[in-house]
Subunit: 415 residues, 2 copies
């Protein structure tokens, strides 16, 4: 199996001011392609440190992917340092410069003089065209090995990685793959899930099994290590079937499945339209739904009824109901979902009202208490739960729980 | 200045399945204490790779903090490898084992046989008591330098770092701190900003200057390296004043400032209430606003008018206007903001309508086109822009731009 190193460059990484998501993105993509990452390193925007780290990585594995330090400002030194190491002078490329001018023009701007450095290329390096930003990727190859320079902006890194870097690396590598598949559960604790599928490790061997708990639920991941691609796929498919057979009721999807997309698909299949009424989530459920491309086929919109007066005026929640039960109550959630589906003309509804904190909690209604109502046609189901975590976590968990309630209700309805 | 390296250990880090938040936590805490992190490295649960990485780090800086690989399972090899490197045999400590038994008993359990390895200590190493979990931290000191071994569980790492490791490191180091301050800009490209404040590096020296572009704008960060704390604070304050004097119009806040919180503060100061009308952002602007604790004092709520019928029914956007200009138009954005402020009884309004993609673009209205209207009392300002990026990025940029427009308009109004 081919092996490689990752070097991420930026003083903000050493200071801990930026999370190194690029290393993780590269690790996942390379692993999926069967390329083992032997080591990852971060250094600051310091020419000597960058040079040493690149030279050491090349000495160990012969191939290094570097991210960061390709921007137009004075602290962007990666290209110069690595070009020096490979003994390549920098040439100004007029076509790259013209491309930059064109790109800026699309956004009604002109590049600054400083941007000219982004049109410089180490002599003999391959240019990896960057359709996602201004700094092209660079592929330097010499007796030292291969150094691949990518920008640190995550979307640009991702685009270049998948469209330019992986195809080139794969054409050089051979053999087995590292491949994973997952099922995604929500609304069930890790320990309960593990108890239900206990002994699965022996059944799915040689696949490895990992439990990955997060804010949105617990994923169960199976991984094939360095198997031929076809064999990995067959083992993983069988393993996933085994997990689904044991824990299917809690599973809303596989791999990268998004619960909002699952709900939208169920609704689309039934020809139903969806509306939302949100208090404590403040638009977060709508935002999650509309993150899904094509959501406009199903989602009509919603009301963010943050202030109680809006619950009355836009959702027809009776003043007396608010006074009697309080805004965070199953009765109000129920009235909210009825109000929003009626006003927007939707067959499906979600309503969320809760105490996200940090203030506003009482002994009866503590921080984390969330009431959720979902509607399918005339049927309304209401529930309450107390979620752990800080304000952001409570809001995320509440949104996920609300979507899951609607998924469960829709799944019970014949399509 | 004292300098140190960080080594995080775990195959899941190389595969990108776990974000390396421990490195960031260590970087922040060490930087705040004036200890520079020269490099951070991650390797897998592989004895040879761990040994090499520890030895190299010690050769460079003399001190390395290692996290991970101290658990009870077969892939936890850090302690054995580093003890070998220091030539220290492992001794079984009965008092540690009894502590483990007591700790398990508090949760009604007994430790397994494989937990016994967690009671083994390299001969001569200092034990750093772990009140937050089962594996103690270890401080190994020899002619090779200092190796500090900490568990990888974030809460245990944090506890040991602040209570055991930093006090010991600080008693060995002397003097200065590493301290950063930033200003946050939005709506201006990095190169334009850099051109405006060109030469700032010389003016603020010995502070370093870094540009940090992101989806929300460009931050300019000044860092004092190894200065006495009081001197660092004075230099940083003067440096920030210099940046503000040159680029103040683009700056919405400092350090961790959130633009939504800035807008809420401006509105609160003027005793005004805010409402939102969102199409392409689908609730994202409301969600950002309500991420801010206490937003309910200012924010009434909003309408997510994703479907055009909702723009008509809940926001009174005239059918003819939609037909003539299309939903993504300055005219419709303007009508949306007037509708939502009127219906919700707000003095301040934000409306966003755009083409978030990936579908729906036309030559006249490409993906990324967003029309924004903001209102302060009777005054409405409308603008349009084409944002780069994918669907999620376009939506994030649109929300940030909308908040910034309202900030600019509020700033012009006397408070």
């Amino acid at each position: 199996m081919a092996s490689i190193e990752i070097l991420t460059i930026g003083t903000e990484l050493l200071l801990g001011l930026t999370l190194d998501t690029n290393s993780a993105e590269l690790g996942r993509a390379l692993g999926a392609a069967g390329i083992a990452v032997a080591r990852r390193t971060s250094v600051g925007d310091d020419p000597a440190a960058i040079r040493d780290a690149v030279a050491e990585a090349l000495a160990r594995t012969g191939t290094v992917i570097c991210t960061g330090g390709l921007g137009p400002t004075a602290d962007d030194v990666t290209k110069k340092v690595v070009a020096d190491l490979f003994g390549m002078p920098l040439d100004f490329h007029h076509d790259l410069w013209q491309g930059l001018i064109d790109r800026f023009a699309r956004f009604g701007r002109v590049p600054a003089e400083k941007n000219r450095s982004q049109a410089e290329v180490p002599r003999g390096a391959k240019i990896l065209p960057n359709r996602w930003g201004t700094a092209p990727g660079l592929w330097l190859e010499g007796q030292q090995g291969v150094a691949i320079l990518l920008p640190g902006v995550p979307s640009e890194l991702r685009g270049l990685l998948h469209h330019e870097v992986l195809p080139r690396l794969l054409s050089r590598a051979g053999g087995g793959v590292i491949r994973s598949r997952s099922v995604r559960t929500t609304g069930v604790p890790e320990s309960t899930l593990a108890q239900r599928i206990t002994g699965i490790e022996q059944v799915v061997a040689p696949l490895s099994v990992a439990y990955l708990p997060g804010l949105l639920g617990v994923d169960v991941r199976l991984t094939a290590w360095n198997l031929p691609a076809a064999e990995a796929d067959v083992s993983l498919a069988a393993g996933i079937r085994e997990v689904v057979a044991r824990a299917g009721e809690w599973i809303y999807g596989e791999d990268d499945a998004d619960l909002a997309a699952v709900v939208l698909n169920l609704a689309r299949g039934r020809g139903m339209k969806l509306a939302t009424a949100e208090s404590c989530t403040g638009g977060g459920v709508g935002a999650r739904i509309t993150d899904v491309p094509g959501s406009s086929e199903v989602y009509l919109g919603g009301v963010i009824a943050y202030d109680n007066a809006i619950k009355e005026s836009l959702l027809d929640v009776p003043t007396a109901l608010l006074a009697e039960h309080g805004a965070v109550s199953e009765a109000v959630a129920s009235a909210m979902v009825r109000g929003v589906t009626r006003h927007l003309g939707a067959q499906l509804g979600i309503a969320v009202t809760g105490v996200a904190g940090p203030g506003g909690g009482t002994p009866e209604k503590p921080v984390g208490l969330v009431c959720i109502a979902v509607a399918v046609d005339e049927e309304v189901a209401v529930s309450r739960a107390v979620f752990p975590g800080d304000r952001a976590e409570i809001r995320t968990r509440a949104g996920q729980a609300a979507l899951n309630r609607l998924r469960q209700m829709l799944s019970r309805h014949a399509s």
